[in-house]
Symmetry: C2
Subunit: 375 residues, 2 copies
């Protein structure tokens, strides 16, 4: 199952692990796949620290960095980070702030400690994204940059290419994949609606083959709904050059997650996720809870557009992550994950997960071959 | 690709064609798969006529019949068909009738000719379903009965088994598949959310493998999102014993469809469908149009529960089918189809479609084998 894209990157198996945890990056790369560090929400200092650790532990293996490089938000590339934060804060209605604060208080989620990391991170700003890309490109073992949302701007594409690295981007709609191709990207990550985080409405089964045909000969990595080796066979059978798994690592041994959040993931079925605008302002898949339901009701504020909703919920996201086990925190927590959550029922090491994926893959392929008549 | 379930039925390839058109049934069975006639909405007389024709044209091949055998609707198994229709008609609010009639009139859809087939068909009644099953079981070449909605009642399961035939049912949720197994059915048709008609929220990629594992050793037919051979490889790799395709035949040469409806299907992308309660009262996937949008608005009537909405829209369904090309009929027409609609862009014979599916299947399997290292 070594695809051409594996060979181009120099990895053994076409398993791409999207994760916010450096330990998962290292473990998957060492197991023959490639870890891609999700750096959205990281400050440049935080990214430097994480990449230092990865470089030190990953040996001769390679990795990638995923960030969110916006094409444009009106006015957002014209100011200093401080001015940007102020502009965003000013744009959030008081009613939204109060609603959000009350939900957290009612669920017994402790306040963030005053004075600790007071700075709001500019998750979706060009200034921030540029700093993250610059840092990543100083690392020889970082071989790919991924854009989580939209087509990256031409200057970033050029910068990454000049450094001798590959750049790709997520696409949940055909037209986004075609725009990425037009912009000169090297590969597309095509995510169906069952995937965790931001995704469109068309499912993996239908979207993958259409995307693969539409952007050919660009390599497509299949995302959304992959948690076992049978699903990897499905993806590669359609012509994907690799698979992009995010949800699968969230409860792995190496993942950083509070026990209460792990438990929410482990106990959820595939019917327990929802596509909601309540955390980022764009439709993203996550576990259903009182928070996601509250923002849907007619008597509550409408979620703001991205990036505003994300700044509004910055506090909710970090508090519900840190204090995942406090009070009724899980009722209002941000737990992004795909529908595959229903098939993830135990905690294993990333190495074991990769081994299982490969075993299941081989078994499924054997099964297919056994269905064919003998020559 | 001859699965055990193929062998049990005595068919060559595990392709199950769900269709309302007798010509498609015959063409697919003759091509090596098996046609399953969707008889929901047929009167017993109409079914008799269709099965006579099929029996005459299908040669030595076999087929199935799909109907909707309700477990229970309060009071619906206690009356004569005439009383039932009256009961349903009485339960529909005047506001709903007026809204529906106005939409059709505004779109320029002609009235149904007075005196022609004036009788309302009892699509979802036990009385009607029993008559359809009885008729089907008189036909030696009809080898399987499928229930489109829910677990069939125990007496029907027993009746079908005593006749030496197989009985199965659709399931869009794990718990439905488990209930079917408990009721002693012989196979499950597992449909993901991308499928046309009634479906749940979990997508095929995620639902199929879970269902296959949950109801084992019962055979599972994979439905929802299958329109080419690569998608069939995906289904069989996960352990499905066959594939159930509905959308794929809707614009085939053999399908009965007005040119305007065909054109609606041929020109639609995968983003043009919606899951809507506006025609049957249960969430079903169909092409988006003004009708589906109108029933979602806050200033319009809420769709009634099944079976009421279906009786309310009985007139809309048959008028928009018959007069598909009149006025703005397509803006209010009932066009049920899955997300695969986006990959169906030409009219072909069913025989050619089956041949293509098999060719694509073999090519995709060859591709998978080529990715494996040489021994």
């Amino acid at each position: 199952m070594q695809t051409d894209f594996c060979k181009e990157l120099g990895i053994e198996v076409p398993i791409f692990a999207f994760t916010h945890c450096r330990d998962v990056v290292v473990a998957v790369s060492k197991a023959g796949g490639i870890g891609v560090l999700g750096a959205v929400g990281f400050s440049p200092e935080k990214l430097k620290e994480e990449l230092d650790w990865i470089d030190e532990h990953i040996g001769d293996h390679i990795y990638g960095v995923d960030t969110a490089i916006p094409q444009k938000y009106e006015g957002m590339d014209k100011n200093t980070p401080e001015e940007l934060v102020q502009m965003l804060q000013d744009a959030i209605p008081e009613q939204h702030r109060e609603f959000s604060a009350k939900m957290l208080a009612d669920a017994g989620v402790p306040e963030w400690p005053a004075g600790e990391d007071d700075e709001v991170t500019l998750s979706f700003s060009a200034v921030q994204a540029q700093a993250l890309v610059d840092e990543s490109l100083t690392r020889p073992k970082c071989r790919m940059i991924v854009n989580a949302l939209g087509t990256p701007p031409a200057d970033i594409v050029e910068q990454v290419h000049k450094s001798g690295r590959l750049i790709g981007a997520l696409a949940g709609r055909l037209k986004h994949g075609l725009a990425h191709k037009e912009a000169g990207l090297d590969f597309i990550i095509c995510q169906g609606s069952e995937g965790g985080g931001h995704a469109g409405e068309v499912t993996s089964m239908v979207l993958w083959p259409q995307m693969i045909d539409a952007v050919a000969p660009l390599p497509v990595l299949a995302a959304g709904g992959i948690g076992n080796g049978r699903q990897i066979v499905a993806a590669l059978a359609m012509g994907a050059e690799g698979v992009w798994l995010g949800s699968r690592w969230l409860v792995s041994e190496e993942a950083h997650a509070e026990p209460a959040q792990r438990e929410s993931y482990l106990s959820a079925t595939s019917e327990d996720t929802i596509r909601s605008r309540s955390f980022t302002g764009k439709t993203a898949r996550m576990l259903k809870n009182e928070w996601t339901e509250a923002w849907e009701r007619e008597d509550t504020p409408e979620p703001l557009p991205m990036p505003l909703q994300g700044y509004l919920t910055f506090d909710a996201v970090r508090r519900t992550s840190r204090y995942a086990g406090s009070g009724d925190c899980q009722k209002v927590a941000f737990n992004p994950i795909g529908q595959v959550v229903g098939q993830i029922n135990e905690t294993e090491s990333c190495r074991d997960i990769v081994f299982q994926l490969l075993t299941e893959y081989t078994d499924a392929l054997d099964h297919l071959n056994n269905l064919m008549p003998e020559d």
